[in-house]
């Protein structure tokens, strides 16, 4: 145990935690959105994220970026970064929509049990992981450095690195955009209506299928953005990446109160920071154990998460 490290590097760790938390928050939005509408954990969401990281990787290759190259500068850099971001968001968004069609739609229309639906989603998740394991030969892949990583300034001994600042700000913007979309747009309102009460929304003329597709698309795109930010900061990925981040992101969603967008945001940041602190104190090996204990503890004290579920109480 190393409490001295936590004390000495406190602000630096907090900053790193915020960047990690931003990524968690973006992924957890997908869990929360789908849960709100379908009352199901989208088990394949972690693979939606995984595919985002590989798409960003492929996009960078297409843009001609190579591992041995020097980082790009100026508008060329911005352009390359944007292309990678868009590629990841598109790929993840489309994957999420396909997941819904393949794993969920038919079962939902047949009124299958939750368990059957879950197994179907697990099947998709296993297949995607295995597909990428075979494609990548079980090896991790490195992401080239597109952007030079520099320290912008130091605060209380913490060096603030530019890529992490970008991640935090960009994630904030994404979430703001999503929030606007949910509250203002027609489909966003549909999502909220279905989350509240599916049968009444159907009666009121909401097209459930379309709403569900849009929900998966939105959640997938957020996961794609997270994938890009992840790969930008950590510069590598593998077929397993979804598994580890998925569990943490789901934990974040539950922590904040699943089905609640603000909760996902908050849970993401809290978990990101806590994980960074605990890795510093106990070593990275115990990080997962501690997140798990935090999750159980929160659920024990407040079963609906810190912010409470926005979903209505079940009616009898």
């Amino acid at each position: 145990m190393d409490f001295a490290l936590l004390r000495d590097a406190f602000w630096g760790l907090t900053f790193d935690g915020l960047a990690l938390g931003a990524i968690y928050a973006l992924i957890s939005l997908g869990y929360t959105l789908v849960y709100g509408v379908l009352r199901l954990i989208n088990f394949a969401h972690s693979e939606v994220f995984m595919i985002g990281t590989f798409s960003a990787l492929v996009a960078s290759g297409i843009m001609g970026v190579k591992i041995e190259d020097d980082p790009r500068t100026g508008w060329g850099m911005v352009f390359t970064l944007l292309i990678c971001l868009i590629a990841a968001m598109l790929a993840s968004g489309i994957t999420a929509v396909l997941v819904e069609i393949i794993a969920y739609r038919r079962l939902r229309q047949r009124g299958a049990t939750k368990l059957a639906t879950l197994i179907s989603a697990i099947g998709v998740s296993i297949s995607l992981v295995e597909l990428f394991r075979i494609i990548t030969d079980s090896l991790p892949r490195e992401f080239p450095r597109i952007m030079d990583k520099t320290f912008l300034f130091s605060y209380a001994g913490a060096d603030i690195r530019n890529d992490k600042v970008i991640v935090i700000i960009a994630a904030g913007l994404m979430m703001f955009a999503l929030e606007r979309f949910i509250t203002k747009s027609r489909y966003g309102k549909g999502i909220r209506a279905v989350s509240m009460d599916e049968s009444t929304s159907t009666l009121m003329g909401v097209n459930i299928n379309k709403v569900i597709t849009v929900t998966f698309l939105a959640g997938g795109m957020m996961a794609g953005a997270a994938a890009f930010f992840y790969i930008l900061v950590y510069e590598n990925t593998s077929f397993k990446v979804g598994f580890f981040l998925g569990i943490s992101a789901f934990t974040a969603a539950v922590l904040g109160g699943i089905g609640n967008l603000k909760g996902a945001l908050f849970g993401g940041f809290v978990l990101g920071i806590l994980e960074t602190y605990t890795s510093a104190v106990f070593g990275t090996a115990w990080k997962a154990v501690i997140s798990f204990l935090i999750l159980v503890l929160v659920l024990l004290i407040k079963p609906t998460g810190l912010f409470g579920e926005s979903i209505q109480q079940a009616r009898v």
Binding site: L115, V254, A285, P303
Partner: protein, 354 residues
């Protein structure tokens, strides 16, 4: 309103035959059935032989072990409808108990067995009591986390071998004439089969009595079950703990046969695979689950040539299967009994109540 007609199929015929059989016939059928399974290792049939691996070993692991674990998990998932994605944790706890006590103390297999079962049950209570209050979806993620945690803890504690695990686990002492050695999997298989039969017997007893009704009620409608006076938390914890006990017993036996264990054997895939056995066979139907587990554990051994994309094929099969037969190959289906003497509704309120 039209009532459902009898649907005659092979399964109903079999069930009818069983129900109409006199006791002596049921007993002799059961005995020959059981005898067949005890004799299975001696069978040398090209249809079921596993060319790439030793058939007798395959019978013990994975086939027999998966059947046992699927029966255990079925109490949790099939009977009570609780999604446990970390079932492997209890298997690991049993295996580690055997490994640690077997290598550090003079206790033998038969003495360690109850300890392993008890430890698995205690961890079931510790994990279940707080988390089983939660709604089903949370339970899935918490159990998934737990399964991973047990493995991570094992990897990170050097005292129990860390990532290298534990080697030199003793075999059970001789029992009657049977010698337990690494070379001969048959005695292990027989012990496993005996466990399995015992557990089938217990599960069937419970299913027909109050616990079975409570689990049925919980699975179908937790809210209403509570309102009908079922202490749902208590019965959920029981389901969880019984499932843990079965996996714990399996783990102890497994470790004593395999002689050395490493944490990575107890990964999430095992939990998922056992769950797949349950769902694939027919959630909640004991015979379906047994069939599903036997098929899913045996087929990969039979088709070893498909080794690389095996899991991919498995994943796709799960999706296809769930889309086509969401209730599994041998779905749970209650047979109904009809009384031909119809009565009209106006006659309600007859008889007396206290």
């Amino acid at each position: 309103m039209a009532d459902k007609k009898f649907r005659y199929n092979l399964r109903d015929h079999a069930a009818d035959y069983w129900e109409r059989s006199p006791k002596w016939r049921r007993v002799s059928l059961s005995i020959s059935f059981i005898a067949f399974f005890y004799a299975l290792p001696f069978l040398n049939n090209p249809l079921i032989n596993t060319p790439g691996s030793d058939f007798q070993s395959v019978l013990f692991y994975p086939v027999g072990m998966y059947v046992l674990m699927a029966i255990g998990l079925n109490i949790v998932v099939g009977k009570s409808g609780l999604l446990d994605l970390g079932y492997v944790a209890f298997f690991a706890i049993g295996a580690y108990t055997m490994a640690i006590l077997g290598t550090h103390t003079s206790l033998n297999f038969w003495e360690i067995l109850p300890i392993g079962i008890a430890l698995a049950m205690v961890s079931g209570v510790l994990l279940g009591t707080p988390t089983l209050r939660l709604r089903g979806d949370y339970l899935a993620i918490v159990t998934l986390g737990f399964g991973e945690i047990v493995r991570i803890v094992a990897v990170n504690i050097e005292a129990i071998g860390g990532p290298r695990g534990i080697a030199g686990i003793p075999t059970p002492p001789d029992l009657f004439k049977a010698k337990f050695t690494i070379l001969d999997p048959k005695p292990y298989y027989w012990v496993l089969l005996t466990f399995t039969l015992l557990i089938i017997w217990m599960v069937r007893r419970m299913a027909a009595r109050r616990p079975g009704r409570a689990w049925d009620a919980i699975r179908q409608d937790d809210d209403v079950a509570q309102l009908m006076g079922v202490n749902t938390l208590k019965y959920k914890v029981w389901a969880f703990v019984l499932g843990a006990a079965v996996a714990g017993a399996g783990g102890v036996l497994y470790a004593s046969q395999i002689l050395s264990i490493v944490p990575d054997q107890f990964n999430l895939n095992v939990s998922i695979l056992i769950l797949a056995c349950v769902v694939f066979g027919g959630i909640g139907n004991l015979w379906g689950v047994i069939l599903g587990a036997a098929l899913l554990a045996f087929t990969p051994e039979r088709i070893r040539f498909l080794s690389q994309p095996r899991i991919l094929v498995f994943g796709i099969a799960l999706v296809v299967m769930m889309n086509l037969r969401p209730d599994g190959i041998l779905p749970k289906k209650k047979r109904e009994h009809f009384d031909p003497n119809w009565k009209t509704v106006e006659e309600s309120g007859e008889g007396e109540i206290k």
